[in-house]
């Protein structure tokens, strides 16, 4: 077999798999949004832009867009701030550092469903440990899911716990690339630790910060499993984002065209973020 045959064979396989698994479903999702379908096996009827018109006129769409933005922004800010703080601590030397570093990654390894169930167990109204602790401190009971604001805060809280390790690990790796000589020089100049953080550490970490925030934004904005498992988008739609709305439309209300239209709009919003990502980090032409 010649050298070319092998490489082109690999490449052909690659193209075929990419087309079948990625490109075709994406194109199909967009085309579904132009059809009216009320079952997954029924014949689709051409609907033109009717699905989009219906979706964009529904107040729940705009509510989902705003909810998604609040959820993404809230969870990203706390993830990043906590992630940086943890990385700064774990970058210092202290006994048991490797153990604490290991523990700090564990939340990231857990399946979403495990995190949600454990959280629900801990805040269980009757016998959860958090409920009992709050009781023991003489505080009024916390309603984690009953009011719209509380449900959103709970969703953000759980998400921050789950994804902070990713930020911590990225920053910890990046901190090790900052040359120590910069700190030495700054220390000689009589700077404080806070000044060194804002004038050396943060600027050096800016590239990784950009990647982390962009990636987190893309994923948090379209998060489905956390919200669905925790609140089902409730109460009264207060935590419903576009992903949950799209799922409900397609799989609960069997408005497949409408679900696909919402998914396509999410695709479009996502693509803007991805384009920004490619602009900041172009695929090198080597």
């Amino acid at each position: 077999m010649s050298s070319k045959t092998t490489i082109y064979g690999f490449l052909f396989v690659g193209l075929a798999v990419t087309l079948a698994l990625i490109v075709a479903p994406a194109v199909y999702a967009v085309s579904l949004s132009f059809y009216q379908m009320d079952s997954f096996i029924g014949a689709p009827k051409w609907a033109g832009l009717a699905n989009y018109a219906a979706v964009l006129q529904a107040p729940e769409f705009w509510r989902a867009l705003v909810n998604g933005a609040i959820y993404a922004l809230g969870s990203i800010v706390f993830q990043v701030v906590l992630g940086i703080a943890f990385a700064l601590v774990l970058n210092e030397t202290f006994p048991g550092r490797n153990l604490v570093r290991g523990l700090s990654i564990l939340p990231y390894l857990l399946p979403t469903v495990v995190v949600i169930l454990t959280f629900k167990w801990m805040v269980d109204g009757g016998i959860g440990i958090v409920t009992k602790a709050v009781e023991a401190m003489g505080l009024p009971p916390i309603n984690w899911f009953e009011s719209p604001g509380a449900a959103m805060a709970s969703t953000i809280l759980v998400s921050v716990w789950m994804w902070t390790p990713f930020v911590t690990t990225c920053f910890l790796a990046a901190l090790q690339t900052v040359p120590q000589s910069l700190y030495e020089a700054a220390r000689v100049d009589g700077t404080t630790a806070v000044q060194r953080f804002f004038h050396i550490t943060l600027p050096m970490l800016k590239p990784i910060l950009t990647v982390v925030v962009l990636l987190r934004a893309i994923w948090m904005f379209n998060k489905f499993d956390v919200i669905w498992l925790l609140t089902r988008g409730g109460p009264v739609g207060a935590t419903e984002n576009l992903a949950v709305l799209s799922y409900r439309r397609a799989f609960n209300l069997f408005d497949i065209g409408g679900g696909a239209a919402i998914a396509t709009i999410s695709f479009a919003l996502l693509s803007v973020a991805v384009l920004v990502y490619f602009r900041v980090f172009p695929l090198e032409d080597d």
Binding site: L11, G14, P25, F94, P111, A260
Partner: protein, 277 residues
């Protein structure tokens, strides 16, 4: 960083480290402890360290529910997804790093793009296609849908890995009479082993923990994987928290074991952006 640390500063550091450890590990500890308590004591006992350990919840879970079957389904799906991902991602990543051709950027770009797709966006079209092909509610369908998560990750990660691998090694082997395929199998693959292990670990993690695709693709109880099976237990099980925490612990166990044994691969993968959403 600082060498001559003052005592208050060192104390502050220890307290901060302790806070991080407790914050990260306490919910996990509580999950495990709750699964090991006597189920009747779960309602009253909130001591941090239980006086009596019991496997009652595990026995109920394994004997009275479909959990063992869901566990087996999860193993089948995850192992299949990992194997297919490794074979295809190594071929694709190798071809796009070692050959200058058009279409290369399309593959890499599509893979990176796909890697950022949230699962639910791709679940609607895939489910519709599978419903027509008769693949809905099958483990095969679920495996294929997991490939849309794992393959982009594998290609993306190995692409970076192969880029940093020098051509000279394969060229030397080919000068010595190896074919391209021979050089790939005998020289490139063994050297790429650490990268392949990382891909295998993260593909397993993605497939094993996936809730979204399994929720959409699987309808029957017999074909459910662990995350969906466990979540559906909450409604039907009259909130038996002991059993639910036992089920949660058993899902997490393989992941923790893998992490304990191969933490350097996890850290390397996370650093290279092998994220699960």
């Amino acid at each position: 960083m600082g060498r001559a640390k003052t005592l208050p500063r060192r104390l502050g550091l220890y307290v901060a480290a302790l806070v991080i450890a407790v914050y990260s590990a306490f919910p996990i500890y509580w999950m495990v402890v709750s699964s090991l308590r006597e189920p009747t004591e779960l309602l009253t006992d909130v001591s941090l360290i239980p006086s009596v350990l019991s496997l009652e919840s595990y026995r109920n879970l394994l004997e009275l529910t479909d959990y063992p079957r869901h566990f087996l389904n999860s193993v089948i799906v995850a192992v299949a997804a990992v194997l297919v991902t490794m074979v295809f991602s190594v071929m694709i990543a190798y071809a796009v790093t070692r050959q200058r051709i058009r279409g290369k950027k399309v593959i890499v770009g599509a893979m990176l793009y796909a890697y950022m797709f949230p699962p639910l966006l791709i679940a609607i079209p895939i489910f519709t296609i599978f419903a027509r092909l008769g693949l809905s509610d099958t483990l095969t369908g679920l495996i294929v849908s997991h490939l849309t998560l794992t393959l982009p990750l594998g290609v993306w990660f190995l692409w970076g890995f192969f880029k940093s691998m020098p051509f000279e090694l394969e060229e030397a082997a080919m000068v010595d009479g190896c074919t391209r395929l021979g050089a790939f199998l005998r020289v490139v693959l063994p050297l790429a082993l650490p990268g392949l292990i990382t891909v295998a670990i993260f593909s397993f993690l993605l497939s094993w923990t996936d809730y979204t695709f399994a929720l959409v693709m699987i309808g029957s109880d017999a074909n459910k994987t662990l995350p969906v099976g466990l979540a559906s237990m909450v409604g039907s099980f009259d909130l038996r928290w002991g059993e639910i925490m036992a089920g949660s612990t058993l899902i997490a166990l393989p992941l923790f074991a893998a992490f304990a044994l191969m933490s350097q691969y996890f850290i390397q993968g996370l650093g290279a952006g092998a994220v699960k959403g």
